[in-house]
Symmetry: C2
Subunit: 356 residues, 2 copies
């Protein structure tokens, strides 16, 4: 049985999205139990409306407060300790749940999760990772997306380990290809942090394929793309902005005249196929990595379908042992570093990389 | 008369693109004279095929060598001094031309341009700027796009000045709104360089509107968006990659079946309108800013239409006195800084900003 705590009150919409999405996942997965965290009375009502076939898949955990999307991190962290977000994360900490899903505001969720769960040994800073759709029809995992604005090569190395574990666990990829986001494929390109990170990554057992560029994310050149949180956040928001603009313009083009509206009607099945392919709701659910617990963040404006994908990713992460895979990854690097320190010749001998 | 030197041999295609594009611009603008730089014999042939109505708009300048897209910067800079790129830039330096347009490789063009033209007083590092389409149907100028990977707040300030002058000159925008690319709109967000840059920008006469995020580029929140070259390059390549993936998928959707092909036929006029709107060829032509001369870089893979837009942008830059506007902008900042140094109270008095 996999137990997932849902912060039912978080996000732009709260219960009208979180409850139906949770029930959808419960219907198709009999091996999940949900802790529904939030206002007991309101959750009961919403759950009744959603008509789940197996009521024993749900336990309601009452929480008095709600962290809003506008609450400053300090308020979320210190003043609203009885919020649904805090309670859901406490359930993970106390091992009443294996994972937590929240659509609450990212800064607050990261701060509260870090405060309650703490980081894993060997991880200095948690990171946020998500998958972006690529032209192979799969997802490219990108991290960090904004938790860490100033990063050292050591931090980027840790992101690579965590991202690799995530791609293994959630996407089922064996030995994921890891790329370092840079402004050229050549090793001599980039800033000092990136150059130094390349050296570190080459000395690990990770499947490091070298530098990748922005467009490689959408080509699917690597399974995991590593960057600092400033670059990752700008990148994520830029591609979201472009996608929104383009889809708005496409819609407008088909609404312009009687002819275009007719054409839209005829092209509808084709446009639906296209929309399904680029539908970013299928990639909803960013992982907060490096914590002593599995935490997934849904987009604040997620609808029922999108939110259900975030729950699915959390389910996959627990089922495929994301935490254990991360810990093994960290240990492999630590041992590797220790080994190469005691035997410096090994640093030069990249052909004999042990498999992760 | 505006005189533009064309590096006819540069780019993925060379003459078959550069000559017809140049002739197109010459046909619609009688006040331009072109220096066509490259292999004399080949240019003569290509020019004859393009059938210009006024042959006196063209002077051929022979150049023996060609810098290829793969030439390392060192080769371009030191060994191929008789290349069409060098000759075109020498024409600008010696005031035989007011601007140069090249589709040659970016790194080489920047290095050779900097070597031949030198930087303007008050500018430490040249930058690369381009316009990205926004949902207002205009272009948002973004810089730097990769010339400078490690930037100080002082460099970002210079980019803001140069970008502002470019938006005034090429897009005809009075007092352009300048935004600083960050990971949140709040002043407390971002890394140390960005925070310090905010302080610098607030103390200038520029129309600084504060922080902007990645999606603001496509919303058109600011006319000019400033970032370091690492972030700008990743951003540019990411959005290009996404755009390519999405357009490929849209095409594929319409090619899938007999029905979809029929739908494509009916939707064709609508899709053409849409394509024209998001056509990035209309935004071709990146400016190399901060040099003692006007230099525009066309995309290497530009077709005739795209290349003609790069020439148009160079034309606009000369006609609207980009260089003079940049120099005035630098002087305004320098004076402002000196004034605020001699009278520190002025630093606090942002309401009395002089107009640029």
């Amino acid at each position: 049985m996999i137990r997932i705590a849902i912060d039912c009150m978080g996000g732009d919409f709260g219960l009208p999205v979180t409850i139906p999405a949770t029930v959808q996942v419960a219907e198709r997965r009999a091996d999940v139990h949900f802790l529904l965290v939030g206002n007991q009375h309101e959750i009961e009502q919403a759950l009744r409306s959603a008509k789940p076939s197996r009521l024993n898949q749900f336990t309601i955990v009452h929480a008095e407060e709600v962290i809003t999307m506008d609450d400053p991190i300090e308020v979320a962290l210190r003043r609203k300790r009885k919020s649904s977000m805090h309670e859901a994360l406490h359930a993970v900490r106390e091992q009443r749940a294996d994972a937590c899903v929240s659509a609450g505001n990212t800064g607050a969720l990261m701060a509260v999760a870090r405060f309650i769960l703490k980081t894993l040994d060997g991880i200095d800073r948690p990171a946020i990772a998500t998958a972006l759709p690529n032209q192979l029809g799969k997802g490219t995992t990108v991290l960090d997306l904004g938790a860490n604005v100033d990063c050292t090569p050591g931090h980027l190395l840790q992101f690579a380990i965590m991202g690799s574990a995530l791609a293994q666990a959630v996407d089922g990829i064996d030995n994921p290809k890891v790329g370092l986001l840079n402004i050229g494929h050549e090793a001599i390109k980039g800033n000092e942090v990136v150059k130094k990170t390349t050296e570190l990554l080459q000395a690990t057992p990770l499947n490091f394929i070298g530098n990748v560029e922005g467009d490689d994310i959408f080509k699917g050149t690597a399974h995991v793309v590593v960057c600092d949180g400033f670059v990752g956040n700008v990148l994520l928001k830029s591609v979201e902005g472009l996608a929104k603009m383009v889809s708005g313009m496409l819609k407008q083009s088909f609404l312009r005249s009687v002819y275009s509206k007719l054409a839209a009607l005829i092209a509808k099945p084709v446009l639906s196929t296209f929309r399904d392919q680029v539908d970013n709701r299928r990639y909803n659910g960013a992982a907060l990595l490096g914590l002593r617990g599995v935490v997934f963040k849904s987009h604040g404006s997620a609808d029922v379908l999108a939110y259900s994908y975030a729950i699915e990713r959390a389910y996959m992460a627990v089922q495929s042992q994301l935490l254990q895979k991360t810990i093994v990854g960290i240990e492999a690097i630590t041992q590797n570093t220790q080994a190469s320190h005691s035997n410096p010749s090994q640093e030069l001998n990249n052909d004999n990389k042990p498999a992760l």
